[in-house]
Amino acid sequence: MWIFRQLFNFCKNLLRKQRLDEDLDLEIRSYVELSAEEKTTLGVSPEQARIQAELETGGLEQIKEGVRDVRVGATIDRLLQDIRYGSRLLWKNLAYAALTVTTVALGIGATTAIFSVVDGVMFKSLPFPNAARLVRVRSVFTATRRGDVASYPDFLDWRARNHVFDALAAFRTGDFTLAGRGEPERLHGAVVSARLFSLLGVSPAIGRSFLPQEDHPAAADGANAVVLSHALWQRDFGSDPAVIGRTIRLDGQPFTVVGVMPPKFEYPIDAAPVELWTTIAVDAGGGGMPMTDQRGAHYLDVIGLLKPGVQLREAFAEMAQIAGNLSKEHPENKPRTVQLVPEVQELAGPLRTPLLVLMGAVVCVLLIVCVNVANLLTAQGSRRYKEIAVRFAMGANRARVVCQLLTENLILSLLGGGLGLTLAIAMVKILVRIMPAQAPRFNNISVDGRLIGFALFISLFSGILFGLAPAFRTSNIDLTESLKENWARSGSDGKAHARFRGLLVGIQAALAVVLLLGATLLLQSFVHLTRVDPGFDPHDVLTFQLNTPTPNAGDPAAFFREFAARVKSVPGVVSVSAAASLPLTGDSMKSSVEIEGHPTPPGSRSTADFNSVETGYFRALDSAIIRGRDFTAHDSAKATPVVIVNRTFAQQFFPNENPIGKHIRPGIGNGYGPGEPPMREIVGIIQDVKQSGLQAEAAPEMYAPLAQSPFSPVFFVVRTATDPRGYAGIIRRQLGSLEKTEPMYHIETLDEYFQEALSIPRLVTLLLSAFAVVAVLLACMGVYGVVSYVTAQRTHEIGIRMALGSRKLEIMRLILTEGLRPAIAGTLAGIAISLKATALLSSLLYGLTPTDPLTFCAIPLLMTGIALMASYLPARRAANLDPMQSLRYE
């Protein structure tokens, strides 16, 4: 019954608001008249009676407000009214509204976009059960903490001796040539230990997983097991379930298909998807000493599943103990220990630091945005002082006014948040596209529900927080003072207000300086990087990988000669050569080295990079021979073993000596029988070529002729006269006429490798610069706003000063100080913060320190200059005031 009545009242109040209000108005008026009438009967004159009656009744609007407040649904009604009123007001004040909404959108857009990327790359859990317990175990040198891959014997001992892991599995990626119908196909695959799938908690969609005994090579006539990816099964085997048990040929060897993984299964997570898995048995077979028997052959990644409840620290303690024991048991190897890294973190890899930097930057931007919005709202609040005073006079209570102001701010922040979210979605799309290829887990990056919630939270939070402070300030009005219209000139409130805004400007300036410094450092570092001499000319060189015949299967040298001759015959090809590893790719081989005349036990030998190259490699790369000679066709397998070293090698191992003619013994002895690899004579010194990225300092490096140190596959390098991309087709046809079974793969130009090496620095620099520009613009707006405010506030004072004979210059100085003081204070604070904060950048910087003195001098000056410019406009306006007019103002 009661409910129905309230519902009826509610509807009536909402629908017939106008009628009810008019009715109430009439009722109160009649009350006043009746009251006056009564007084006249007591002998008061009619005019007097009316005045008394009105005074006794009180304000008409206040009574009406009181009645409205008790009506059912008053709250909703008020909210609707506030929204209507707020929207109207914002519409009238479009410039202010647009500015605020854009600022909020920018802040929320940038933050949400970067957080989406960070979340996708670094935090989103892996799509495996027990993802949180997956840990990468790296094997590193005790002395340098470098390296990360493990040897198979070490892995077996780790697995047998530990009590902290439920399972350990080893894997490496590798490419396989699948011969079948038509063209042979090059497939990206993985060589894994049998337990990998069960460790990850994933079983094949069809067929079975590997059996433990399949880690050992099959009998001489048998075939190793292989598991196919869902995509490969669909593409090459027509989704035929009967594929299980069939034999396929990979790299000429027979393999039995035992299973097909479920769709979307992806591990190891690599730039290119893995399409098939086989067991470690492929490394155990073959003649000589297989890789899996060499404790010194570090080439496997190891992943472990921690036992439930075991902490990373405990696991590390035990594994370090085991590794220490192994080093003691095998003194012939350099001592190694382990590092344990959660799998999620391991996968973020090279993007980790850049993303952390960007996250810091984006938080700075968000803070600046919040401060700016606070500034805008405060300014808006002070402009509305009088309106609010009038509202109080008309009977509005304080809570009501605060509510009204909050509603307006919430409208703005929600609009900004919505726009920001749209911006974020667009930005994420762009970011994913320009993301460097090294970044794993792209497909995980998206703006999902949690991040939408995050954006909504930030916008509401900033709306309430930064709306509330000014709302309370504004609502705390001395009625009489403000209605007298000289509130700005009188009282300490105006000054406190200006101080508050000065503080905001200071904070903005400080944050802007931090971002600007960071961006400038990165920008300079990027310029340094692009100007780095990589030691070769990357333009117009096509590269591709090719399996060459092994010495037992054919004559690699003859194959190369024949193929090179055909490629060279293509018009436009300048030179052709090949190498085991390419510059800038970072996948160079490490080898121990013994210097003639300095016999050292194998455990403590120095290490250097090792590469194996064809004749003409340095010419094709356009790398200069500093001393001695290049390899020639005479440096064959049967001739004296020779080696060319780079400048760093020469300086490090032969300081103040001529290395030409000296002998060294690289630890890699491909092409020679078992036992110690041969001593090689140094015949030349080559300039330093950047092997592992542009930032890395050149490492000592040795080059042996491919004929004396055969490798397969090798990278071919073809220098061309015009755009090298156009030559891939014709070279493939040349290869086809020569040999049918081996495809070309990894076709890329050296320029592309160069750009890839720059991609992460470019991305970070670009984004950080964008953030810095936004920050500076916002800070500018802040300074401009505060100076304009102060100028308006002191118009009267300026008028008096000018009337008393102050010169324009003095007035300008007066006003400029108002803007510059907080800006300079903020700048100084920014320098202090940056001295600490830029340390985060140190690993990203090349060619300068994180506290580069020149940058730290120039940027604060720049910031001050910008603040000066932002203050100049309002200051000039103040100086050009007509004293008469400014005194008449208000």
Binding site: W2, E27, Y31, L34, I63, G66
Partner: protein, 110 residues
Amino acid sequence: MAQTRTDILQGTLDLLILQALALEELHGMGIARRIGQMTQGAFVVKAGSLFPALHRMEEAGWLTSFWGESATNRRAKFYRLTKLGKRQLDTETKDWERISVAISQALRST
């Protein structure tokens, strides 16, 4: 002074309005005057408290209102008790009596 007195006894305003309307229907001014008479001038009900109370009670269903003419032929809004209002008056009167007896006893008991 009247202001402070009404403030203290705000809770009794509803009861007084109901009592004022118990005999006859009245307009706002009339209710204020009647309350003054009934309490021998101890209560001066101001328009700022009277009107919100009237509207609240009307929404609660204790009163109904209609436009009519005053004794001096002026248009005025009159209020009348409903059945619900009469019942409310009864309960509130009983409550009040119980409370006032209890409080008087408490004050005398020292």
